[in-house]
């Protein structure tokens, strides 16, 4: 069975380590915050200028001056700090953020990512995505293995305009966990009940399969 979005988020949450500073993109990545393992403390960074992002506010407690990078109303946790957008991207560029999780339309076998623009569609802009992918020391992509047409999103080369080059380190899709290595996508885990063969058939880029591939524990 392919993973649900929640299960993808939950699997990614298992990559978190105590003390990590983490930037979570919009969509599935945001859900990762709901599955932070017991005993692991992470600090969430929001690139509009906050360290220490907390959960959504209770009804009636929304503060218009307090939003996240997705423009959603949020709260803070004790120990939070506000700063301007230049310092925010400064700490990202300086490698102080331990992990960035974001979505993608396409990832290539050498780690290129495309997630901001579709030709002939209205372009809304890259926001902070290009800064994040160019700067983060550890990038995990949360994505569906195939697009709605059934075409693989893990490609030999991206076909869409790039957001960044050679930057993705790991992918957690609805079908598999893969490392992006010098030699291609290395299959690490399969979704429960999903066969290596299915993953192979839905991965257009070079797939490396070595030994037994365990099922994910989600």
């Amino acid at each position: 069975m392919a993973l649900t979005k929640e299960q993808i988020a939950k699997r990614i949450a298992r990559e978190l380590r105590d003390g990590y500073y983490v930037n979570l993109g919009i969509g599935i990545p945001t859900l990762v915050a709901n599955y932070i393992p017991e005993g692991i403390n992470v600090v969430l960074q929001s690139e509009n200028g906050l360290l220490g992002m907390g959960p959504f506010p209770f009804e009636g407690e929304e503060d218009p001056d307090l939003i996240n990078a997705g423009k959603q109303t949020i709260t803070t946790v004790p120990g939070s700090a506000f700063f301007d957008s230049a310092l925010s991207f400064g700490m990202i560029r300086a490698g102080k953020v331990d992990l960035t999780v974001l979505g993608a339309m396409e990832v290539s076998e050498n780690g290129d990512i495309a997630n901001w623009k579709i030709p002939d569609k209205m372009v809304k802009g890259m926001g902070g995505a290009m800064d994040l992918v160019a700067s983060a020391k550890n990038i995990i992509v949360a994505m569906m293995h195939s697009n709605p047409k059934g075409e693989s999103k893990l490609l030999p080369e991206c076909t869409l305009p790039l957001t960044g080059v050679r930057c993705v380190k790991k992918i957690v899709s609805d079908l598999a966990v893969l490392d992006v290595t010098d030699k291609g996508f290395k299959l690490l885990e399969r979704a429960p009940g999903v066969s290596v063969e299915e993953i192979r058939s839905k991965t257009a880029g070079k797939l490396i399969i070595e030994g037994e591939i365990p099922e994910m524990n989600v």
Binding site: N48, P57, D65, I67, K71, F89
Partner: protein, 232 residues
């Protein structure tokens, strides 16, 4: 040194057609509502607006777009605005998209007297086309130039009569960076106090960067995406 002006209309009265403006804010958070309203009233046109976003149809910079006052937007993300999309597709509006961190840092660079900065954002993408790429310690960076604006218009929480500013929470965002990047910087604040009433240890924008200041009124502070959790 008289920096205090009466209101938004006085603050923006000499902004001419074709001016290059910086407008603070992220989404609808921390935007200079009073000055945008005054620019709409004034009807100044052919503006180039450097702003992370372009507002929504009926708020923020969207109000200026509706009046066709904007010639060019320089932003990182411009969704959520149907009129914007119409003008863009019809060719009435020019748009330059810039990575968010690059935009922030280019504004900051002007305020720090740095003519250009290096950033890895956009290397290998269409953003890099025509730009100088330079390798430092094995990593590639783009050379990006500082942004200066004829007028920077920012919104702060508190300010004093010497122009010192303090922002509230994530309404800080681009505001202090743009405050530094204006040849003339206009600040609207929710509360204007006398010089000496703000703690000098907690000033976000020193008054040297601010030329005009006034206490705004009737702040709507619209929320773009109200997200809540349930009480259990």
């Amino acid at each position: 040194m008289k920096k205090v002006v009466l209101d938004a209309d006085e603050a923006v009265k000499d902004i001419p057609d074709n001016a290059v403006l910086m407008l603070g804010g992220f989404g609808l958070c921390g935007i200079p509502e009073n000055c945008i309203a005054a620019l709409v009233r004034k009807g100044v046109s052919d503006l180039t607006c450097i702003s992370n976003n372009a507002g929504v149809d009926d708020f923020g910079i969207g109000l200026m777009l509706k009046q066709k006052q904007v010639k060019k937007m320089i932003s990182s993300y411009v969704g959520e605005n149907a009129e914007f999309e119409r003008q863009l597709l019809s060719g009435e509006l020019e748009v330059e998209l810039i990575p968010q961190g690059t935009l922030a840092t280019r504004c900051m660079a002007a305020g720090y007297g740095m003519p250009a900065i290096f950033t890895p954002a956009g290397v290998g993408t269409e953003v890099a086309v025509g730009k100088e790429v330079r390798n430092f310690n094995g990593k590639e960076y783009l050379l990006e130039y500082a942004f200066e604006a004829d007028f920077a218009i920012v919104k702060a929480w508190k300010g004093d009569t010497d122009g010192n500013l303090i922002y509230m929470e994530t309404a800080r965002n681009f505001n202090p960076l743009m405050a530094m990047g204006g040849r003339v910087t206009i600040a609207e604040v929710e509360e204007l106090v006398s010089a000496g009433e703000l703690d000098p240890n907690n000033i976000h924008t020193p008054g040297i960067y601010v030329h005009r200041i006034f206490q705004g009124k009737d702040y709507e502070k619209r929320i773009e995406q109200k997200t809540i959790r349930k009480r259990n």
